[in-house]
């Protein structure tokens, strides 16, 4: 295996894990099948476009991203999503409508055309004997560190425990004084914000346009069902299997075979192991 392939695998797996993280929270914890997940990635990717449109300095990209995505997510949670807890299929349908809505709104504001964003780091960097874009290497390292932090927070934090309690038994959680409405809203907004940050990070490396969200949705869902809902390890394993298969087969065979293999693999997992490789549902 060449070192570039290794780095490509690292890039694909880590970015997919990052993109799918928000869905893991919203789908895995709140049981909202969020078909608009990719649109939050898309809005996040537009953050640099917003800052340059408003003439703001580059370091404000992250705050602008969080504020925009967070605001949109909060409004949607209060008006639509909160009616959908416990109605999984309805959540799938309603968020499909939300996805169209968000795409159309972004199109109205920014137009249909492609946007372009420059990476903060340019040039390539020599790793393991291969020239690899410096920005990508920085992102891979950042995502790995971020996930380690999240893992530690997840095992220690009180909020994480409360979310677990709420998922396990909403009535009981309510009874012991957990404000489930606030907690759900918080978890939804947080999940969407991670998607937005993923979009911001990916922006310099991908196309940016209102329809881009779909690219991220399906792969995220498949990564989750393969890995199993409800645990960070599952998310990592799922992203590894989905992105790994696509990248590896894409390199040794063709992208078409890689794509078909990912779909086939997902079907097999959904059929034979619907709870994924790792699952906390038992």
């Amino acid at each position: 295996m060449s070192s570039v392939l290794l780095l490509n695998l690292a890039w694909q797996i880590s970015t997919l894990a990052l993109v799918a993280l928000g869905l893991a929270i919203v789908f895995g914890k709140l049981r909202i099948m969020n078909m608009a997940h990719g649109e939050f990635v898309m809005i996040g990717a537009y953050a640099p476009v917003i800052t340059s449109m408003l003439g703001l300095p580059g370091w404000l990209q992250l705050p602008v991203c969080l504020a925009t995505v967070g605001f949109v997510a909060f409004v949607l949670e209060r008006t639509i999503i909160r009616h959908l807890y416990g109605r999984m299929f309805d959540s799938l349908l309603a968020t499909w409508g939300i996805a169209i809505l968000l795409r159309e709104i972004v199109e109205l504001v920014f137009g249909r055309g492609y946007q372009s964003v420059s990476p903060p780091l340019t040039g390539t960097f020599s790793v393991l004997g291969a020239d690899y874009p410096a920005y990508r290497i920085a992102v891979i390292i950042g995502i790995v560190l971020g996930f380690i932090g999240l893992y530690l927070w997840n095992t220690r934090s009180k909020v994480a425990t409360q979310i677990k309690a709420m998922v396990g038994n909403p009535e009981l959680a309510e009874a012991i004084g957990i404000d489930t409405a606030r907690l759900s809203a918080g978890a939804f907004v947080f999940g969407c914000c991670t998607a937005g940050v993923a979009g911001l990070i990916l922006a310099p490396t991908v196309r940016i346009e209102p329809m881009m969200g779909l690219d991220y949705l399906i792969r995220s869902f498949f990564a989750l069902v393969v890995g199993g809902l409800g645990s960070l390890e599952g998310l990592g394993i799922g992203a590894g299997i989905i992105a790994g298969t696509q990248t590896f087969l894409g390199a040794v065979a063709s992208q078409t075979y890689g794509y078909l293999a990912v779909l086939t693999l997902s079907i097999l997992f959904l059929w034979l192991k619907p709870n994924g490789v790792r699952s906390s549902s038992h």
Binding site: M33, I80, H83, L84, M88, F89, D90, L92, L93, A94, W96, G97, I98, I100, L101, E104, I105, L108, I218, F221, F222, V225, T256, Y259, L260, L263, T264, S266, I267, L270, W271, P274, H282
Partner: protein, 556 residues
């Protein structure tokens, strides 16, 4: 108008299939254009090769049968061993349609690739917008009529019951995975028929005909039109299609408006346009609920096998790392009432679950007479003569009392041919009549009430009546008297005792109330920590020091 509405009707037909599947069984197909597209391609190829009408129709029938068969096998395999229709199945259909779209776009030599297959005439060389339009209308009418007929057949009630409470349906002996598989196959066949019409009507088939976007579009049409009504999806397809054609070019916010309407429908009007129309209609012409009138003597049940002793042989049950049953062995007599007692967590309910197959044993075996019965699917339990009432009353909450009873009457009695006759809905057995006619049993005055409005005690009697309707020779009762008043408790124990005497069968009852245990038990089985502590008649159990030690330990 004809040239416009033809296409919408074709989509409407496919959406009717989705409505049938989704509205009745709760299975949401996200890949219906898989069948639509495959049939469209096959039609295109056939029409290209040979225009002989008779040959084409024969081939169409064969393709429809094949597609239905494949869909049935697929869904049955996926649903086997499960008792719910979670999102996994929807996601599988989604992945399948994505594969189909990719293959259709890549296999250029077979499908023409992205540009599609064209250059063929319509079926029977009819003008697509003249006479073929009437073929489409005829197909729409035929499918609608078929669906209206299905609504009056037992299938309709069975499908609704599967959606309402699948575990209960399995315990009533219905192979729910096959029922859902059949519903899926039926909807696939309708989608395929629509696909064939589409190819013939349009004269071109492209990968979009078997694509994810079309699948999603058809689900949206179904939801907006109304999935619970035969005509709902048709109304949705025509209204949305027509409005889209009128507004798309001139109104730039068309897709925005569509998305908002769709979200509103999902949130506020799950029944869609059809339900709103029906509600308006009913305000003018109200409909009074009529109970099903049981007027036909039910055929004999198939579940009444000869009484036989139930034998546990070193039964082990492990879930994860937790040992629930730890070498349970006992043998009951062939007839009589056996009470199962023991502290919470002793494994009582789990033991019943291993008998019905809701849990598979991890060691040992369970015999009913000479038949090994452990680790087979729950829907086969009734076939072994085993009926079960659950701890929390498990009935069909969205159905009326009489519909609940009608389902129960079909349990163990329904044959394939009965699915296509209305009489099973009117079946009533003599023994069920006796239970219902008992002046103390509350149900007969509330036959048209939805079960969700029934008090707890009445639900207990309903579930009991439903369980004994199939006349199982082994009756498993899990705390049948929980939540009952003293009078109701007396009535329930009386019913159980009479049932046992009438059938000369075996009743196994989990019970905490020692006075009930004393009153009805021929033998008592004491479970503790997943093992048999004692198995004897009531007096000996009462005097058993081990049992006393466990119960003195505190928990009731």
């Amino acid at each position: 108008m004809a040239y416009q509405i033809g296409l919408y009707l074709i989509y409407g037909i496919a959406a009717q299939g989705i409505g049938f599947l989704w509205g009745k069984t709760g299975v949401l197909p996200l890949g219906q254009s898989l069948f639509f597209g495959i049939a469209a391609y096959v039609t295109a190829i056939t029409l290209k090769v040979d225009g002989n009408l008779f040959l084409n129709l024969v081939l169409a029938a064969m393709v429809l049968a094949l597609i239905a068969g494949v869909a049935f096998v697929l869904a049955t395999l996926v649903f086997r061993g499960r008792n719910e229709s979670g999102p996994y199945f929807s996601l599988i259909t989604l992945a399948l349609v994505m594969i189909a779209e990719q293959v259709a776009g890549t296999a250029t030599s077979l499908t023409g690739g992205f540009n599609g297959m064209s250059g063929f005439n319509s079926l029977g060389d009819l003008d697509p917008f003249g006479n073929f339009y009437y073929v489409i209308v005829a197909a729409t009418v035929a499918v609608s009529l078929l669906l209206f007929i299905l609504n009056r057949l037992p299938i309709n009630l069975i499908a609704k019951a599967v959606l309402d409470n699948e575990p209960r349906m399995q315990l009533l002996g219905f192979p729910t995975h096959m029922i859902k598989g059949a519903a899926f196959a039926f909807s696939a066949m309708i989608a395929a028929m629509a696909g064939g019409l589409f190819a013939s009507h349009q004269g071109i088939v492209t990968p979009t005909s078997t694509g994810f976007a079309l699948s999603a579009e058809m689900v949206i049409l179904t939801a907006v039109g109304g999935r619970f009504h035969v005509l709902g999806p048709l109304i949705g397809a025509v209204i949305v299609g027509w409005a889209s054609a009128e507004l798309r070019g001139s109104f730039p916010y068309w897709e925005l408006l569509m998305a908002l309407v769709f979200i509103l429908v999902v949130l506020k009007a799950p029944g869609g346009i059809a339900e709103l129309l029906e509600a308006a209609f009913r305000r003018v012409w109200p409909k009074t609920p009529t109970p099903l009138t049981p007027s036909v003597v039910a055929p004999p049940t198939r579940s009444g096998t000869r009484p036989a002793p139930l034998r546990f042989e070193d039964v082990q049950l492990k879930i994860g790392v937790v040992r629930i049953l730890n070498g349970v062995s006992f043998e009951t007599p062939a007839t009589g009432i056996v009470s199962v007692i023991g502290p919470n967590g002793a494994g009582k309910t789990s033991a019943l679950n291993t008998i019905t197959g809701n849990l598979n044993v991890t060691g040992g075996r369970i015999m009913l007479g000479e038949v090994r019965i452990d680790s087979r699917p729950p829907h086969n339990a009734l076939g072994n003569g085993i009926g079960r009432k659950l701890q929390v009353p498990s009935v069909f909450f969205s159905l009326s009392v009489s519909e609940n009873l009608a389902i129960a009457m079909m349990a163990g009695r329904l044959r394939m041919a009965d699915l296509f006759r209305t009489t099973p809905l009117q079946w009533r057995s003599r023994s069920l009549s006796r239970v219902l006619n008992n002046p103390s049993v509350p149900l007969k005055n509330e036959l048209t009430d939805p079960v969700q409005h029934l008090p707890q005690g009445h639900r207990q009697f309903l579930e009991y009546a439903m369980t004994v309707a199939a006349e199982p020779s082994v009756l498993l009762l899990d705390e049948p008297c929980a939540g009952l008043s003293p009078d109701e408790t007396a009535l329930m124990t009386e019913l159980v005792r009479v049932y046992q005497i009438e059938t000369a069968g075996l009743v196994i009852i989990i019970e905490h109330d020692m006075s009930i245990v004393e009153a009805i038990s021929d033998k008592v089985l004491v479970l503790h920590l997943g093992q048999v502590l004692a198995f004897d008649d009531y007096k000996k159990i009462r005097d058993n020091p081990d049992v006393q030690a466990v119960y003195a330990g505190g928990t009731k």
